[in-house]
Structure formats: structure tokens, C-alpha cells
């Protein structure tokens, strides 16, 4: 019996190839989106689940009590670990990781030197808390002493190849350490990024700091004994702080935060707003939203499937009539049509599985994850797909099956005018869903256009300086730092180098902020100001424009210690009048000087530069001051000629090696720095295009189903109209009208929503485009055009059919 059903299903599929194709393609696309989202969500939820005893591990964080809105800090005082271990019997183990910020460290083994990030400095109890699998060596005692290191597998392979490196030596920033173990690879679902771990003891932090409750520099983890109640521990910890710790602290050092114990399994997803947190973060809100979106996509896909199948069922009415006449029961027919949809779903699922494996690398690239979609090695996944097939097949097939199987043979064998009962009457539902789909399309089209505009604005806006062909790198090694003057001079000699500048505070890089004192009317006012520590070549190298005064000059000895250049914003905000008027006025700066923290640098304003964007366009321009300050000569910018960049870079490298042979050079180009800043926007842009494409396609499928249905239903009417003299265009217009109304409604709903969403998004940028009104017009027209093409295909087909054929059947 089943064979017969499937045979008919298969032949039906082939007979209506185009129809089958769009139906299968639509469902497959929806399923693919769901699968990809599902994989992502699953991956996010899997974070830290592999850690043994994970349910007993907690991270200590604090919530500030003094800030306006509660602010959570992931880094806490080293004393938390000490106290928890000493005073709380239910604590099995504690462990601290020193917060170091994103720093690159030079690792060296033999001749091989590589800068490596994500090195942890942790208590030797690290592996007592996190029992990570070792490839070589053993976790016991791996972080004992002060000169041990545990490497990630990738790092170990980089330095030592595929041999066991345990016992071998390695230099980290010229300190020699011994490899005690190598972690197994595949820690991509761990909330800490690890390239290597060295013991905290190696940092040799002074005891007086380690017992300081105010030094919030550590990520702290505790493992409770089995059966311990974390809420009790947390409450006890708070009591301990208020009763035992607070009274011992001086008024200025009182604690202003409350500690929390965060379950390990929540660290990844529930810390998105945490400050001073360098763990790999997800966001539970996104995960939940994505789950909802996946469900919605599946729903729409099923709905479109039902829509198309029901529309098509009109053409299967005769078959139903015959089968019933011969003696088929309604149940048998239900079963037949259900098995058909399950078959169709199966094809879609297989297609979706193929698409998913094809697209997964793209998604992995995009999200930086290592998700796998390996059906052969993951029977659970296979089972899931089987369940998905069955559920979607049954859900999507139930309604059409019910409609089809309830046709009465007497009626269907006699006439071609068949209505599908309930679904035909709940037209508002069909139309409503179509409106929702098209509103979504219009919304996405508008967003895509706006984001596209803003992103190209970000990349192309005139930043007030010339960012092209500027090589940029930090200085390294004592020799280079001492002889920076000669180093710079030699750089300048390299053919192809136009200018070179050493300083701190280059565009796209970190900048320092500090107060600048401006005496006005006998009063000293201090303004927060960006401090750009520069040399005599900074303005030239970056191509800044002076609007008043002059650049720093070596010839004038006072420029070194008694001269400042401001940007236009500073002149304006300090109330110094016009740039011209600002010249010659005195400003003061508390010099960065360890020995004499109170000393002031006093100088005159010798020039004003045109505003330039040294930060991303998210940030409003702030007052900035340029001054000669060799104490912060840490970074180098080298302006190259446009031609033969390659050999100029080679030349720069050679000079580097001469001054710092022990360190490899690590350079980038300044414009890359800027492009890097808008990575998230670039991703959003491409994501939006994809989503928009899918939304339009899916929306069209829904519309196509509806149009097919309408054309089928009005076949006879169309035939009569034609006989009476209606031409094709008037019939196309007749059929299209009711759908174009839906698109208009969709646009009316989508426009204000898109406006709101995009205004909000643009708000985040200090520098942004005006809301492009054309985006709305174009989005509306585009949606209407696509909808019209979709509908008119059916309409034209119906309008050009021979009217006699359609009338005779009745």
C-alpha cells in the first residue's frame, strides 16, 4: 500500500517539476536556516559543559553598589580566593587568574620566535578546578614552582612539531620556563582562551598587594564540595565581608560592591554586560532570540508548504474521487497524503542537510566557531533529522491531507470547482501571514540599505588625516627604545619611506586621556583631554592640517618642554576663541613623572590642527592635545610612497632587525586598524543581505502559493471573462490587485518599524548618515515588483489558458 502511495507521490513530484521544486526548495531553505541557527544555539549552550564537576564550579564576581545602574565586575580582589579557602569549609578548591589585558608576549624556542596572545597567569590549582585533558604530561604539579608552563596543543606544535615537548625549555619574554604539559586541542567550547598557562608564583607579586581588598585584578574560581549549597556560601561570604572585612578597612578603602558566585555554566552566556571580563562571551538574549527566529522560520516554511500543497490539492481532487469510489476510506487517503508530504519533507531535509554542511564553514568563519555537522559520526543528529522530517511532514501535511481526503467523490468527479473548506474561509489568516512575511521583507530591505549606506560612510569618510600607506608597529627591545632617534633617522633613509614618526596616540590605536589645565580669568580649569604624545614628524607623517600657528620645530628649543598644539574641538570647548586667538595662550599639564607626581609642564599653544578622527566614528571628537613627550615613545608610524610598497616594507624590516634582532617585527597598516573597527558592521551588512534574500524568497513562496490557489479557484470566472472579451492584461490586473494590497499593507507596517530600528542603530554612531528616505521608497517598490512578478506568473498563466477547457469541466 505504502509503495503505491509513494509511487504516486514520486510521479506527482516529477509531473509538476517546477511546483515541486519551489515547494521543496522553500522548505529546504527554511530548514537550513533552522539547522544553522540550531547548531549555533546548541554550540553556545554547550559552553563549559565538558568540564568535569562543572556544576560545582563557580566564578566570583562583584556588583558595584555605588554606580547608577548595577555594574558587574568579573575581576575581583585576590583576597576572595584566600578567604574562601581559609574560612569556608565547604570550599574544596579556589583558583585565581591574573587579569593582564590583551597583551602579546614573545615566545621563543630555539630559533623560533612568535608573538602569542592569551597566556594565562594562574594559581597552581588551575587544573584542580578545571580538569582539562592533557595530551602530554600530567596536570599534577604542572604549575608548581615559578618556571613551569603548560602549552596549548597548537602552540606546542608550532614550536616543537609533533614530538612530546615535556621537559623542553621555552622563553617567554626572555624568561626561561620548562614545558610541564600540553593540553589537548578542542577547547573551543571553554570560556577561557588558552595558548599557555604559567604559574601565578612566577609573577612574584608583592604580598602586600596580594592581601589588598582594593586590588581588583583577578578572575577567581571556587569549587564547592559535593552537596554544598551555593546560596548559603554566597550569603556567608557577604556576611563575612561586612562583619570581618569592612571594619578593618580605612574609610577610603571601604568595599563598594557585593560578591556573587556565578555557576560555571552561566559564565559564557550570562556575562555579556560584565566589565573587566576577558572570557569568551556569548549572549543569552541573542541565543533566545535566535531560537525564536528559528521557530518562526520553521513556522513560515510549514505555512508556505501547506499553502502551496493546499493550492495544488485542487488538482488532485479527481484522483481522490476515483480512489474513494473504488473504496478507499478517508483514513487511507489521509495516510496517502501524509506519506506524500513526509516524502517531500524528507527530500527537503536531505537537501537542507546538504546545504547546511555546505554553509557551515561559512558560518564557522563568520562566528569564529568550530561547529561540526557530521551526520555519520553523530547518530543523535541523524535521529533529530528523522524526527524533524516526521514532525514537519505531519504538521505541514495534516491540513492538505484533511482537505483532500474529505472531498466527496460525487462532487469532485463532476465539477472542477472545488473549495477547500475551512482554509478557504479563514482567508484573513492566509492573508495575515503573507502580510507578516512581506512586512519582514520590506523591513529587512530598508535595514540592508541603511546599514549599507552607513558602513560605506564609515569606511570612506574623510578622517582629517591621510591614512593610506602608513605602516604601524610597536617598538620592542631596549636598544631600539634608547636609540629611537637614530632608529627613526635610519627608517627615513629607506627608499620609499616618506616620513616616520614615533609616539603614542596614533589614529586607530590606543590613546591616553588625562586632564589639561587651562588658566582662565585667574582660575585654573582642568579639562579631560586626549593626550597625543608626538614627535616633530607626527603632523607631517599623518598629513594633518594646521588651521593656525605652526608645527613643532627642532630649531626652537622651547618646543620640547613648553609647547602644545590643540585640535579645533579643544579650542572650542576650552573657550579659547578662534584658533588664531588661542595661539600664545598658556596651558599646563601634570607631567607623567613617577618621581615627582606633582610637577607641572607649562607651555604655550603654538598651533591648532584641524579636527581629525583618531578614534572610530562611534566616538564623538574630543579635545585633544599634541605635545613632544619622549617618555611615551612606544609606537612607530612610517609613511610610504604609493609605489613599490613591498620593497619599502622590506627596507623597514631590515632597519628593525638591526636595532632589535631578538624580536620579530609585528606591523600592520593604519587603514587596516580602521577597517578592523567596523568589522561588526561589515558582518551585520553581509548578514542582512543574506537574511533579506531569504526573507524575500520565502515571502514570494507564500505569495506564489496563494496566487496559485486564487488562480485555480477563479479559473472558471477567468474563462467566462475571456469569452466575454476581457484581455490578458485586464485579467492579470484583476488577479494581482488583491495581492498588491497585501504588499501595501505590509509596507505600511514595516516602514515605521524599520525607521525606529534604524534610527536607534544609527544613534550609536557619533558620525552617521541621515536616514536615507530613498531606502524606504526603493524597498517598497522592490517588494511590490517582486510580488507582482510572482503573482503575475500565475495570473498570466490563468489568463492565457484556453477558456473553453476551463469551462467545459463543469
Amino acid at each position: 500500500m505504502l509503495k503505491n502511495y509513494l509511487l504516486v507521490a514520486y510521479r506527482n513530484l516529477l509531473r509538476h517539476k517546477g511546483f515541486s521544486f519551489i515547494n521543496i526548495a522553500g522548505l529546504a531553505l527554511g530548514l537550513t536556516a533552522c539547522l544553522l541557527i540550531g547548531l549555533f544555539v546548541h554550540d553556545e549552550l554547550q559552553f563549559d559543559q565538558f568540564v568535569p564537576d562543572g556544576s560545582r564550579i563557580y566564578r566570583v564576581y562583584t556588583q558595584q553598589t555605588t554606580t547608577e545602574t548595577p555594574e558587574s565586575h568579573a575581576s575581583v580582589s585576590p583576597m576572595f580566593a584566600t578567604t574562601l579557602k581559609q574560612e569556608f569549609p565547604e570550599v574544596e578548591q579556589t583558583m585565581r587568574i591574573l587579569m593582564t589585558g590583551a597583551s602579546l608576549n614573545l615566545l621563543q624556542a630555539g630559533e623560533k620566535k612568535i608573538y602569542v596572545e592569551d597566556g594565562l597567569i594562574a594559581d597552581s590549582t588551575f587544573f584542580g578546578i578545571f580538569q582539562l585533558p592533557f595530551k602530554y604530561g600530567s596536570p599534577t604539579g604542572a604549575l608548581d614552582g615559578t618556571s613551569s608552563v603548560v602549552l596549548a596543543e597548537e602552540v606546542a606544535r608550532n614550536f616543537f612539531g609533533d614530538v612530546n615537548p615535556v621537559g623542553k625549555e621555552l622563553k617567554i619574554n626572555s624568561t626561561t620556563v620548562v614545558v610541564k604539559g600540553v593540553l589537548q586541542s578542542g577547547l573551543d567550547k571553554f570560556h577561557l582562551k588558552i595558548n599557555y598557562i604559567i604559574p601565578l608564583a612566577a609573577a612574584q607579586l608583592p604580598q602586600q598587594r596580594m592581601s589588598n581588598w582594593g586590588w581588583q585584578q583577578f578572575y577567581t574560581y571556587v569549587k564547592l564540595k559535593p552537596g554544598a549549597d551555593v546560596r548559603q556560601t554566597q550569603a556567608k561570604l557577604r556576611d563575612y565581608l561586612t562583619q570581618k572585612v569592612q571594619p578593618t578597612l580605612s574609610e577610603n578603602d571601604k568595599l563598594t560592591s557585593v560578591p556573587y558566585l556565578q555557576p560555571l555554566h552561566e559564565v559564557h552566556l550570562y556575562s555579556s554586560s560584565f566589565k573587566y571580563d576577558s572570557s569568551v562571551k556569548g549572549n543569552i538574549t541573542y541565543v533566545k532570540a535566535l531560537g525564536v527566529i528559528a521557530g518562526f522560520i520553521l513556522l513560515i516554511a510549514c505555512f508556505n508548504f501547506v499553502n502551496l500543497a493546499t493550492a495544488k490539492s485542487m488538482q488532485r481532487a479527481k484522483e481522490v474521487g476515483i480512489r474513494k469510489t473504488i473504496g478507499a476510506s478517508q483514513q487511507q487517503l489521509m495516510l496517502q497524503f501524509l506519506s506524500e508530504t513526509v516524502l517531500l519533507t524528507l527530500v527537503s531535509v536531505v537537501l537542507a542537510a546538504v546545504l547546511t554542511s555546505l554553509l557551515l564553514p561559512v558560518l564557522n568563519d563568520f562566528t569564529g566557531k568550530k561547529m561540526a555537522f557530521d551526520l555519520l559520526r553523530n547518530p543523535a543528529l541523524l535521529g533529530l533529522l528523522a524526527v524533524l522530517t516526521l514532525v514537519v511532514g505531519l504538521v505541514a501535511g495534516f491540513y492538505p491531507a484533511l482537505v483532500l481526503s474529505s472531498f466527496q467523490p460525487v462532487k469532485v468527479l463532476k465539477s472542477a470547482v472545488v473549495t477547500d473548506g475551512i482554509f478557504g474561509r479563514v482567508q484573513w489568516l492566509r492573508h495575515g501571514l503573507i502580510v507578516v512575511q512581506f512586512a519582514l521583507s520590506v523591513f529587512l530591505i530598508v535595514c540592508a540599505f541603511v546599514v549599507f549606506q552607513q558602513v560605506s560612510y564609515l569606511h570612506n569618510k574623510d578622517l582629517g588625516f591621510n591614512r593610506d600607506q602608513i605602516m604601524f608597529f610597536p617598538m620592542r627591545g631596549e636598544n631600539m627604545n634608547k636609540q629611537y632617534e637614530t632608529f627613526k633617522n635610519e627608517l627615513r633613509q629607506v627608499p620609499g619611506v616618506v616620513a616616520a614618526s614615533i609616539g603614542y596616540g596614533f589614529p586607530g590605536d590606543q590613546v591616553a586621556g588625562d586632564g589639561l589645565i587651562v588658566p582662565t580669568n585667574g582660575e585654573k580649569k582642568e579639562y579631560p583631554t586626549t593626550q597625543l604624545m608626538v614627535d616633530y614628524d607626527y603632523i607631517k607623517t599623518l598629513g594633518l592640517q594646521l588651521v593656525a600657528g605652526r608645527d613643532f620645530s627642532k630649531e626652537l628649543t622651547t618646543d620640547k618642554d613648553h609647547a602644545f598644539i590643540l585640535n579645533e574641538t579643544a579650542v572650542r570647548e576650552f573657550g579659547l576663541g578662534t584658533p588664531q586667538q588661542a595661539l600664545g595662550k598658556t596651558v599646563q599639564w601634570p607631567v607623567w613623572n613617577d618621581k615627582n607626581p606633582d610637577s607641572l609642564k607649562v607651555g604655550k599653544i603654538i598651533g591648532v590642527v584641524k579636527d581629525f578622527h583618531y578614534k572610530s566614528l562611534y566616538d564623538r571628537l574630543e579635545p585633544a592635545v599634541l605635545q613632544i613627550f619622549p617618555g611615551a615613545y612606544w609606537k612607530v608610524a612610517v609613511k610610504l610612497k604609493g609605489t613599490d610598497v613591498g620593497s619599502a616594507v622590506e627596507g623597514v624590516k631590515q632597519v628593525w632587525t638591526k636595532f632589535s634582532p631578538e624580536n620579530p617585527i609585528e606591523y600592520r597598516f593604519l587603514d587596516d586598524n580602521f577597517d578592523e573597527m567596523y568589522k561588526a558592521e561589515d558582518k551585520l551588512k553581509s548578514l542582512l543581505w543574506v537574511f533579506t534574500g531569504v526573507a524575500i524568497f520565502v515571502g514570494c513562496l507564500g505569495l506564489f502559493g496563494l496566487a496559485t490557489y486564487a488562480a485555480e479557484r477563479r479559473k472558471k470566472e477567468i474563462g467566462i471573462r475571456k469569452v466575454l472579451g476581457a484581455d490578458v492584461s485586464s485579467i492579470v490586473a484583476l488577479l494581482s490587485k488583491e495581492f498588491m494590497v497585501l504588499v501595501v499593507v505590509a509596507a505600511v507596517i514595516a516602514f515605521p518599524l524599520a525607521w525606529l530600528a534604524m534610527s536607534r542603530w544609527l544613534q550609536d554612531f557619533a558620525y552617521r548618515i541621515d536616514m536615507p528616505l530613498w531606502a524606504f521608497g526603493v524597498a517598497g517598490l522592490l517588494a511590490a515588483a517582486v510580488a507582482f512578478l510572482t503573482v503575475s506568473y500565475q495570473a498570466i498563466k490563468a489568463a492565457t489558458a484556453n477558456p473553453i477547457n476551463n469551462m467545459r469541466v463543469n
Partner: protein, 225 residues
């Protein structure tokens, strides 16, 4: 075999009510060949559909092989249809996605007959209808006469006691039409009861008896001489 008493059938549409059958009574004996005649729209098909348990009457009673089937469940109707009744239509009504053999096999599938027995029966009936060589063709590839032979084959494959034919020759030329009539006669001679709706006096001559309808009423029942 069939006993029809005071049958009524009214079609209601939004504006009008049509009395398709009005107090129709007659009987058909086991082994009889009855023709129903009358002008278009007089209710012939309606009557045949009720006899074939495809439709329910609004009044009167209908007894099939001794049991009252006027108001039985749809499940029971389907059951009776597939075991006892074969249908032949003017427009053949073959399933276009199935081959000749598969179309003929279909009733046996619904009856739950085993695969080997199905094959045998299908082969036998196709041979009898002289359509064996076309067994793997699809209906669209056959002539009208051939299609109707397939339809007859399908109607008789499970050896029903009753065959209902609604203008079986209406879409055929005279020679093809005669062929189908010969087939029906043969079946009748083998013991199958046949009720046939027809427009053609020529076809009606194959029947033992003619029931004439006019405006939903039996106007004449005459036995063929």
C-alpha cells in the same frame, strides 16, 4: 438485490432547491442488467450515485443485498463499495499518475489482497479485456476505447456483485462503444448485476429492462422483449 423505495434527493444551493429525485421506487434482481434512461438533468446520475453508496438520499429507503444501507457510516459505505461494487464512468476516471496495471490493481490494494494474488488477478482481467500489451502505459497514452476497457477491468478485477456504469459509451465512437457493451454483457452473463445509465437507445437494447426517469420521477419501467 437492490430495493429502492420512495427515494428523495434535494440539492440545496444558496438560491435554489433542486429536487433531483422525487419518490423513486424500483427493484433490481440479482443477475439483472438494467438500463436507466432519461433526458439530461432528470436525476440519472444522482440515482446511480445513491445506489453506488457515493451519496445519501434525503428520503426513502435503499436496501442492498438484503440490508438497509440508507444511512450507514462512511466507513461502512467504503467497505461495501470496495467489496461489492464496481464503477464505470463516462469520462473513464483513471488516475493519471498510475499505469494501466497499477490502476487496475488499486481496488485489490484497498481490499488488502496479497501481492502475488494481485498480480495474477490483474493479469487475468487485463488479458480478458485484451489490454495486456498496454499494461505499462499511462492512461494518457491510450485511446478512449482502450481507456474505458481499463476502467471496466478495474471495475471487475475484484469480482464485484454489482457494476454501475454512468454513460459508459458517452465519450466513445460507436465501434468502441459496442465493444464496451459486449464486455458488460459478458460480465452480466457470468452473473454480475449491472445498472447502467445511458442516453442511447442502442445501448439500452443490451439491457434486460429499461427504467425511464423524467424530472426525478420514474415514468416507465419496461421489460425488454
Amino acid at each position: 438485490m437492490l430495493q429502492i423505495n420512495h427515494l428523495e434527493k434535494i440539492y440545496r444551493t444558496e438560491e435554489v432547491q433542486t429536487k433531483a429525485l422525487n419518490n423513486v421506487s424500483f427493484t433490481v434482481q440479482e443477475g439483472e442488467f438494467v438500463a436507466i434512461m432519461g433526458p439530461s438533468g432528470c436525476g440519472k446520475s444522482t440515482l446511480l450515485n445513491i445506489i453506488g453508496l457515493l451519496d445519501e438520499p434525503d428520503g426513502g429507503t435503499f436496501t442492498f443485498a438484503g440490508t438497509d444501507v440508507t444511512h450507514v457510516t462512511e466507513r461502512r459505505r467504503a467497505e461495501l463499495r470496495k467489496t461489492h461494487i464496481g464503477f464505470v464512468f463516462q469520462s473513464f476516471n483513471l488516475i493519471e499518475e498510475l499505469t494501466v496495471a497499477e490502476n487496475v490493481e488499486l481496488p485489490l490494494i484497498y481490499l488488502g489482497v496479497g501481492a502475488t494474488e494481485r498480480k495474477e488477478k490483474v493479469q487475468r482481467v487485463l488479458e480478458k479485456m485484451q489490454i495486456m500489451h498496454r499494461r505499462n502505459h499511462f492512461p494518457q497514452q491510450l485511446s478512449g476505447g482502450q481507456q474505458q476497457r481499463v476502467a471496466v477491468a478495474r471495475a471487475v478485477v475484484n469480482s464485484p456483485r454489482l457494476i454501475l456504469a454512468d454513460e459508459p459509451t458517452g465519450n466513445l465512437d460507436s465501434s468502441n462503444g459496442n465493444e464496451v457493451m459486449e464486455l458488460l454483457t459478458e460480465l452480466n452473463e457470468a452473473g454480475t448485476t449491472i445498472v447502467m445509465v445511458t442516453h442511447s437507445e442502442h445501448d439500452a437494447r443490451y439491457a434486460h429492462r429499461v427504467v425511464r426517469l423524467l424530472d426525478g420521477q420514474v415514468v416507465l419501467e419496461n421489460v425488454r422483449v
